[in-house]
Amino acid sequence: MHNVEPLVALRGITKSFPGILANDRVDFDVYPGEIHALLGENGAGKSTLVKVLYGIHQADTGTIQFGDRAVQIRSPHDARRLGIGMVFQQFTLIPALSVVENVALFLPHLPAVLDHGVIARRIEEVSGRYGLAVDPWAPAWRLSVGEQQKVEILKLLLARSRVLILDEPTRVLVPHEIDGLFRVLAGLREHGYAVVFITHKLPEVLTCADRITVMRGGTVAGTLVRAEATERGLVGLMFGTAWPEEGSSRREPIRESARPLLELREVDTSGDGVSLRQITLTIAPGEIVGVAGVSGNGQRELGDVILGLTQTAGGKKIIHGQDATRWSVDRIRRSGVAFVPEDPLRMLIVPPLSVLENMALADTRKYARHVGLTVDWIAVRRDLEQSTRRLALEMLPPAVPAGTLSGGNVQRLSLVRELSIDPRLIVALYPTRGLDVRGATAARHLLLAMRNRGAGELLISEDLGELFSMSDRLIVLYRGRIVGEARPKDTTVYEIGRLMTGGVAGG
């Protein structure tokens, strides 16, 4: 298809971080005049790869060929000198400065005295050509997110970048802005720019990419030209095709008649991040409801609404048959609801406190003695040991500050603490993330055992294998809505994967 030479060629890129192999012998080519989508789940190694290309990370092994010569990219400075630019998810504009000043700051060889007029004319000229119209004199804080992104792209163009890397550029945009961005990218392609564009949304890839590289588990699962690509094929590459079918034999019939532990009726939320829309959901005793979705589609918001941390903007929340829409976090937790959060170090663990003190925070009322004047540390320790044993984990050192534990041990502490209260309802976000195989298996067994004893569970995970093997029912979240619901045995990974990435059910 390409009879031109690649502009940049990465060969055999391997990059490991402590504990994980983020990139494993990755080959990746970028041609001039193409939009190259880099597709994959979170943690598939996309970000690491482009960060190697942009000089933020250095590859352990592998080479980078730029044009006809081998290059070393040791820093973003090196990358920019070669004409490689990157737009990050977090924009880097300085709010108080105007567009002109923000662009000027980025230009190489900035003169001591700035002629704002000259820069403004260049901005207007370039932005006119590619449909990137912004007011050069507007202060950055006044720009919408879409306009800020345009300025970020303008910065790269004016700094004479030829390879533009965009890290999930559509994540922050509303639909019509996404269309606008795609027109901009198409214009850049016509002028011979190379665009590398990271995403995990299938429809976008099929709309605007010329070539698609799918990553999975740190390796390239395949590179396709668009004509060859189908949703089904891409989903297969993204998620793999072999799924462990463990656990299905452990199922026992759900007690359909039992009163639901949790009911959400048409719940809406508003606020920062993703807003939930019309979420209707029930969890019965002895049932695991799995939530599939690419992270950032409302999973955290769903957990926060159930926890009572986020107030509903509409709809009703019923816990154990009682209207809990306005209950406090404390009241919800005391009614027997446990939460395993997505980021325990930030959301559950208090780093300066010891393991034992963190354990006591699960239910300080329970451990208080003499109306709270003292704490029954013996009981705390007993519960810590008991819960650890049930999870088949090794005992964590009780006196050590929790902040000094490793990531896996923080996750263990999170599980040990939350499951110690013998909850009736468990909301678990990515409960096996960060655990080794043995720990992950133990955690899954425990969640299943608690289900079999009658607890209801909401299991939010990015691991489709885990969701399929554990869940009694699956729902799919996409942009804050439930876009699909099925029993694992009645659906396929392909179907769920397509719904997760914005495809339409049944198509």
Binding site: V329, R331, L353, E357, A360, L361, T364, Y367
Partner: protein, 343 residues
């Protein structure tokens, strides 16, 4: 951990002491240069300050007298700071405490001392506490930052006290002096050993012990430390953060109010507009220097009391303006702030 608030850094007590000592040493060296520039012998000046404060019996008692409001107002800052609340309102809370105490001392003047004194102290605590709780409410509901509101309410409190002493409560017998009538003997806090050292010293020390015990031993202390260590985790664990904001502001303000009680009831014996030479602000400085550590607060309060008393020495023995010690205090603040790296 991402906390949007300025943080009073915390250290182990030994390290905090060492660190504070070094910082103070630096401030003293710079101040020595100022004294030299003014044509004075800094070594003699420091020696005079020491011999008339820590060594001299009367001088030391006066240092203790000054330490009482300083320790209490520093605690008023330290307690809310455990959950990242910045209380700059010690001065106003002190004034409101004094106002409430004066009201109690005047309107229940007929009660015997064993009933009147606890009432005066309780109302003083209540006055300071309620004043701080205003900021606590506004913060708990997310309306106004407590940093701003406590600072601004200082001016309001001082003006309210002025209103009463210039107006309705003015002592008719005191010619044109803006002050209330003298407290009855039953409303005066007892003093010790023929000095001005009063019962407030014991109250302050008890407050320190309670603060320490509550923080390290109790369920509430555990929850406070959880909020201090990770606010997000505390919220998700179901700790009622708004309630703690309110209660800790109230207790802090109450302690500053007790400082006001000591000043009106033991030192001045009546309410005057010039009740405090900025104890509330110095208390903030002390708490900041000590990183909220109880021992550090006592040590810093001692030092600040010595410096304040030293101002009189410099004025009388060295014919320098008494306010010259403000330079030293400013230097202390400066070195304390300078130790923290700008991000």
């Amino acid at each position: 951990m991402a906390s949007a608030h300025a943080r009073i850094p915390r250290h182990s007590s030994a390290r905090a002491m060492l660190r504070a000592t070094g910082l103070f040493g630096l401030a003293f060296v710079i101040f020595a240069a100022v004294l030299l520039a003014a044509g004075k012998d800094p070594i003699r000046a420091y020696r005079d300050i020491l011999s008339s404060t820590l060594v001299d019996r009367y001088g030391f008692s006066e240092v203790l007298v000054k330490m009482i409001p300083l320790m209490l107002t520093a605690l008023a800052v330290a307690i809310p700071s455990r959950i990242w609340l910045i209380n700059i309102g010690g001065e106003g809370q002190l004034y409101m405490g004094a106002l409430f105490a004066t009201w109690a001392a005047t309107y229940f003047a007929a009660l015997p001392a064993w009933e009147l004194l606890p009432l005066v102290a309780a109302l003083g605590f209540l006055g300071g506490g309620l004043w701080a709780a205003i900021s606590g409410v506004m913060r708990a509901y997310g309306w106004v930052s407590e940093t701003i509101s406590t600072l601004l309410l200082n001016y309001v409190a001082i003006l309210i006290v002025s209103f009463f002493v210039f107006g309705p409560w003015k002592d008719p017998e005191s010619a044109n002096y803006p002050q209330t009538a003298e407290f009855v003997a039953a409303a005066r806090l007892p003093t010790f050993f023929g000095t001005r050292v009063h019962l407030g010293l014991l109250i302050a020390l008890v407050a320190f012990i309670v603060y320490h015990v509550v923080l390290t031993r109790t369920r509430w202390g555990l929850e406070i430390r959880a909020m201090g260590g990770n606010m997000e985790a505390a919220r998700r664990s179901g700790i009622a953060i708004g309630r703690y904001v309110l209660v800790l502001m109230f207790i802090g303000g109450g302690l500053a109010g007790l400082a006001g009680v000591g000043e009106v009831s033991a030192i001045q014996g009546r309410l005057r507009p010039s009740l405090s030479p900025g104890y509330g602000y110095t208390g903030f400085l002390i708490s900041w220097i000590a990183g909220g550590n109880p021992y550090g607060i006592v040590a810093s309060a001692l030092l600040m009391a010595v410096i304040t008393a030293g101002g009189d020495v410099l004025q009388m023995a060295h014919r320098l303006p008494g306010s010259v010690v403000n330079i030293l205090m400013a230097l202390m603040l400066f070195v304390v702030l300078a130790r923290r790296r700008v991000p």
